[in-house]
Amino acid sequence: MKVHSMSHLAAGMLLLLSGAALASDYVIDTKGAHAFVQFHIKHLGYSWLTGRFNTFSGRFSYDEANPDAARVEVTIDTASVDSNHAERDKHLRDDDLLDVKQFPQAHFVSTSYRDRGDGKGELLGNLTLHGVTRPITIEVSHIGAGFDPWGGYRRGFEGRTTLTLADFGILRNLGPASKEVHLWLGIEGIREE
């Protein structure tokens, strides 16, 4: 009896001490393409042009009891840019825009997360794009979580942020209305068992 309650106590203490360790780690489901890195930028100021990066990978960790401990890391293959026009994509990869030969990867690593309740929050982190690393803030919404029909556990978010191209050394003149690019991130992770 005594031994039993002691082990319960020990387990309870461990639980208290290891709040961070309880957070689950998730692998972003790029394999099943349930994750998207999309961008949109104004064309001449008259319409929106959208595109996406097809190849990326990443992970996040999230604990509902302690959302502020959330962490995210994503690596994007910049050559996978796809705006549904091969000649434009070729130009986007060129050295006057993404310069993918010199900078084949973009990288985001979070530094902190501020939960504002109601599944909303701000993810702060460093984005390395075009060889320039800058702090950015991503507006995050928690979409949902639960078991999938195939035996896994999934959790998903959406994120939005706006980047000024010149901040990342992308100086090609695309017009006065096209200095900023908006990112929309649809991220679903599969929990690691």
């Binding site: 050559a79 091969a86 000649e87 994509d89 070729k90 003149n173 017009g175």
Partner: protein, 189 residues
Amino acid sequence: MWRNSANGYGLIQIVLHWSMAGIVAVMLPLGLWMTGLDYYDPWYTRAPDLHRAIGVLFGLMLLARWVWRLTQVQPTVHAATSRDQTVAVLVHWLLYFIPLCLIISGYLISTADGRAVEVFGWFSLPATMQGIDGQADIAGDIHFVLAMALLALIVLHVLGALRHHFVYRDDTLRRMLRPQIPPKPVKEQ
């Protein structure tokens, strides 16, 4: 007049040669210039449209040129040495072959995502090979290298022609300027 003979070129060969030379003289600088244009330049979309359309027409001319080359007699090569002869023949065949590859690579850039190539709104050339991983970029690199190779070959070709004209003083250059006139029958004395 129209056909080639052992003494010189016919008018068809001459017209094809010089019109294609003129097109290359326009297309090489056009290609280099248009890829550096500012987004707001009025030529930003017009120049590539022109380049693509002229490229397709050039391809049709090249096809005619190939047919003509393979069916017509060729005038005798005036070569000082057998090495000169080999170089001249090699450069000529490369001048037939490289533009063909150049046209195909250019076509593969523009049609990489299945879009057709518009030719002045007259007709459009549909895509065939498409969706290869990195197709536009690979074809683009090849297109550039081939264009530079063509430029180098043209330099050799022109130097060769000038050497024949001014050093050897033969009719190699002249026969490409004037259709061959049938030789006058020699009067018996």
